[in-house]
């Protein structure tokens, strides 16, 4: 007879294996869905155009008002914040849109639910494709900034370990926020736009992505300090710009280690929130028969 502790150990191991398998297959599936609708050239143009246009809006706004003073540190702050913010929309949309896509477009969510698939791992896997295309878009946006707008980025001056660590932690936090949205998507109707992008558009305001949080009214600032994105973008700016990033006042009082600690803590918090919200929405969706609903208003 198997000891209870050994049984639990094997169960956990099997669950992790199932989660990994779900994640891996969903990653492959997500990539196929995202990329195989056209030829590679058009796909590359598609992946570039959207983020470049988004950056160009800010460049034009800034250029019109400041008479094109692109060498000012504020411009680098805005440009880098906006460039890396691409990940926010990409990862959150990638993870959360899978629910609507599977439920109402491919109508496969009900089959996925009855298959031996770990649903959260599956959704996270579906987000990987957008993370990859998002990475491409970030790279293109940064290159355009360095080449045409003289954003002060020099590979030799970049703090690569801090950059990579921040990137991994930040993207992880975004994936967990995407998971929260995916769970909520189980309960709501098909929106005519992408919920992930809508939420990313809203968090644009609160995360200090394109302006220091000091510009916000005092009552809104605490919300900004609750967002992991705020600390993540600060770390990314510090790792890429070095001392120039310290000119921005918002988080100047925090060391890199403190920022990493806060980002990790908030990521753990979002993991807990994601787990609770998933349990809740999943149960409600099952109870109310929403797993295979279609909403075509």
């Amino acid at each position: 007879m198997m000891r209870p502790s050994a049984h639990r150990y094997i169960g956990l191991s099997e669950r992790w294996r199932a989660a990994w398998r779900s994640f891996r297959i969903a990653t492959w599936l997500g990539w196929q869905i995202e990329s195989n609708w056209t030829d590679p050239f058009l796909f590359a143009v598609y992946s570039m155009l959207k983020p470049l246009a988004s950056a160009a809006i800010l460049v034009v706004m800034y250029g019109v008002i400041t008479q094109a003073q692109f060498q000012h540190p504020v411009f680098a702050y805005i440009y880098l914040g906006n460039a890396f913010y691409i990940y926010v929309g990409a990862v959150m949309t990638g993870v959360s849109w899978a629910v609507i896509d599977d439920r109402e477009h491919y109508r496969t969510l009900k089959y996925i639910y009855v298959a031996p698939v770990r649903i959260p791992a599956y959704w996270l896997g579906r987000g990987v494709a957008r993370f990859l295309t998002g990475s491409f878009a970030v790279l293109i946006t940064l290159t355009a900034g360095v080449l045409f707008l003289r954003v002060p980025l020099h590979p030799a001056r970049v703090d690569w370990p801090l950059f990579l660590l921040s990137l991994v932690l930040g993207v992880g936090a975004l994936a967990l926020m995407g998971l929260v949205l995916a769970s909520i998507s189980l309960r709501v109707a098909h929106h005519f736009f992408l919920i992930g992008e809508a939420v990313a558009g809203a968090l644009y305001l609160l995360s200090g992505a394109i302006f220091p949080l000091e510009v916000l009214p005092a009552w809104l600032r605490p919300l900004g300090f609750m967002m992991p994105i705020t600390y993540w973008l600060e770390l990314i700016r510090r790792s890429l710009l070095g001392d120039a990033a310290r000119a921005f006042p918002t988080l100047a009082g925090f060391s890199n280690g403190q920022l990493l600690g806060i980002l990790t803590g908030l990521s753990v918090l979002f993991a807990l929130v994601a787990a609770v919200v998933f349990q809740l929405c999943d149960r409600q969706a099952r109870d109310r028969g929403l797993i295979d609903q279609t909403t075509n208003y």
Binding site: M61, I78, F192, F193, L205
Partner: protein, 285 residues
Amino acid sequence: MGREGDSFWAPVPKVGGWRLFLKTVVARAYPRIIGQQRERSWIFFDVFLSILAVSAYVFVYRAIGAPEDYVGFVVIGGAMTPFWLNVLWSMSSQLYWEKESGNLALYIMAPNSMMAILLGMALGGMLGTSLRAVAILLAGSLLFHVQYTGGNVFALGVVFLLTLTALYGLGMMSASLFLLWGREAWHLANLAQEPIYLLSGFYFPVKNLGFWVAVVASMIPLTLGLDAMRQLLFPAGAATGFLPVPVEVAGLVVLGVLFLVAAWGLLRYMERIAIREGRLLEMRR
């Protein structure tokens, strides 16, 4: 058999001609309006999140010391954003989505005009989205203390209606195109957000993009509509305007007629393809 039974077996009165056309318009507009109000989450995502997104651009302008009229420009752009999203996702890609979910075949088989269905979608979307646009406009104006000139309200109303007519005409036209393109269409709709926000000058006067870029961008009715509305609403509007308002009004009239005629022609073409090749119901996944 009693009276109830008689009425059950009595033939259903049928309508045709313009009555059927109008009934179809109303029937398709109804779920769109009701659906938009029924889904509480939509109201949250549409209005509250839109206000937050608009606010981000307002604070960018404040951070770099822009004149206050630019804050108003952003609020107007933000209020018109739901119309563009509605045209993209609920007009242009709607028939494609209906095909994927199995409704398109029913639309085509039903003895009504597809043009009436598109028109119903457009009118329903326009009305439902107007409520959101008004909410964003009111909230944005109150939050950021936007000052409007008490200018020509009639001209403003004309510009707004012409903009929506041309915009939804574009949506009706592209619904057929998107349907023919299949899966690519969905991605094209997704692509047509930020690039159009840029080209149409949602957050800055389109004049800043240069004359010829603005001319090309004027193919999107929101470019001329936004520019004309800003000229009528803000003291700095005339100085930052792209073309004189009467020229922009004439442009909107031309675009409206062009898109509605093109929508009618493309629908006929699409229906011919449906009969000849049977491509409309294929699922290219």
